[in-house]
């Protein structure tokens, strides 16, 4: 089992390397990249906004529950700011894009594999990696940091609403605590995390789709595996990124 795991990781690495080589050799079609990025941004925005809204409200409620016992209401704003910006929002946007764009990419590639369309590209002397994997990869790398920043804004906004209306905190004080605990470095770190997640999401979903078994069962199981692996890898990498960035 361990050798199989190591072999898979090796193959995945090789796939990433091949994608890089393809992009280098055949050039990047920036019109496709921007198309992917804007498609992803538009399609994911609604769902992400809803999720960010509720993450903000949850953080405020939990912060309040945890810190009101200490008699330190000011900590609520700080908790929401730190947890939201540094950890939750990058992961939230990452998970969302993994669930939506990642699975879509895997399913689409797996269907193309099933219907021999990837083979058809190769026979037409067109590199399928440069055609099918590189544009979404770069598109996700552009869209995810932007979506992360948007989700941060929405989550912080909804936390203010809950703090003021549901928890009865003073508006001015709460916003002060919120804003004074967010630095430019925090936002940059969130973007760096988003970039790393983007690469993981696109390459993992590309890999599982590209080498999927043929047929409906193959499509289903490739999509299934891809989304689980993306979640695990992103959450684990998040820990290491946090220790490196804030350690």
């Amino acid at each position: 089992m361990i050798t199989a795991f190591v072999r898979s990781v090796g193959r995945y690495g090789l796939f990433c390397w091949d994608c890089g080589v393809s992009a280098w050799r055949h050039g990047v079609r920036w019109d496709r990249v921007m198309g992917e990025a804007s498609k992803l941004g538009v399609r994911s925005f609604g769902v992400l906004a809803v999720m960010a809204l509720f993450v903000g409200t949850n953080l405020a409620i939990q912060g309040h529950a945890a810190f009101s016992a200490l008699g330190a209401q000011s900590l609520v704003g700080m908790f929401v700011a730190l947890a939201g910006v540094r950890e939750v929002c990058p992961l939230l946007a990452g998970t969302m894009v993994a669930a939506k764009a990642g699975t879509e990419m895997t399913a689409q590639l797996a269907v193309m594999r099933t219907k021999e369309q990837i083979d058809a590209l190769e026979v037409m002397a067109i590199d399928p990696r440069a055609e099918l994997v590189v544009p979404p990869l770069l598109g996700i790398m552009i869209a995810l940091p932007a979506l992360t920043i948007i989700s941060i804004a929405i989550a912080l906004g909804s936390s203010v609403a809950v703090a003021v209306w549901q928890l009865g905190l003073e508006y001015g004080d709460y916003v002060d605590w919120l804003v004074s605990n967010i630095t430019v470095f925090d936002l940059t770190a969130a973007m760096i995390k988003a970039l790393v997640f983007a690469v993981v999401i696109a390459t993992v979903s590309g890999w599982f789709g590209f080498f999927s078994e043929r047929g409906p069962i193959g499509v289903g199981s490739a999509t299934n595996k891809a989304v689980v692996v993306m979640c695990i890898v992103c959450i684990t990498l998040n820990f290491f990124l946090t220790t490196v960035l804030y350690g």
């Binding site: 050799r25 269907v111 193309m112 219907k115 021999e116 369309q117 083979d119 058809a120 190769e122 026979v123 037409m124 002397a125 067109i126 590199d127």
Partner: protein
Amino acid sequence: MAEPVIRFQGVSKSFGSKVVLQDLSLDIPRGQTTVILGPSGTGKSVLIKLLVGLLEPDEGSILVEGVDVATATEAELFEVRKQIGMLFQDGALFDSLSVADNIAFPLRRHTTLSDEAIAAKVAELLAKVGLEGIEELMPSSLSGGMRKRVSLARAIVMDPEIVLFDEPNSGLDPVTSDEIDALIGRMKDELGMTFIIISHDIVGTFAVADKIAMLYNGGLIADGTPDEVLHSREDVVRRFLKRNMELPPL
């Protein structure tokens, strides 16, 4: 016989413990139609995938226009593939592109033709395969026979030297199947390209073939003109043909 355009030399391929091709040697003559026959599961598709470099042989060499695709670099392989068109079993049309965009796809990526020239070429090819005026349809709204015709138009759009047909009759009703056979026969006369047809459909095969190679258990059991194959003394060949044809007495 003309100089071979493709030459398989001692090719072997197995998946795990399953041997699919063993020490197979075969020449494909230029400008003629070669049919590779055999019951399903005898490695016909593997042969075609080896030919275009989608699979690598375990042993042997496959020379396409003098280039060994088994050892070619990616760039060499791409050059070889530009001389090959392929009709896939279910068409392999791109679902997100219209019929016209599907046919124009290789032109847009490999040539600098103007949009008008491309549109004209697409219309000409659609007429050739008997489907005028369906440029704007999407692949999902085409019938199986139409998908194969469009796929054939896409396969010959770059005027390739070699055209591969992977089971052109599979999944079609007998009437449509006959129409496709007739189309292949007409194309063969019009285009003068090298056709390689993989099939288990015997009647249609003998109508268009200049040469027939029959695969069985990973090797060739017959290799020659239709007439030679009809008179083969090989037991398996006779049994395979007998189901569908009147065999001449030995």
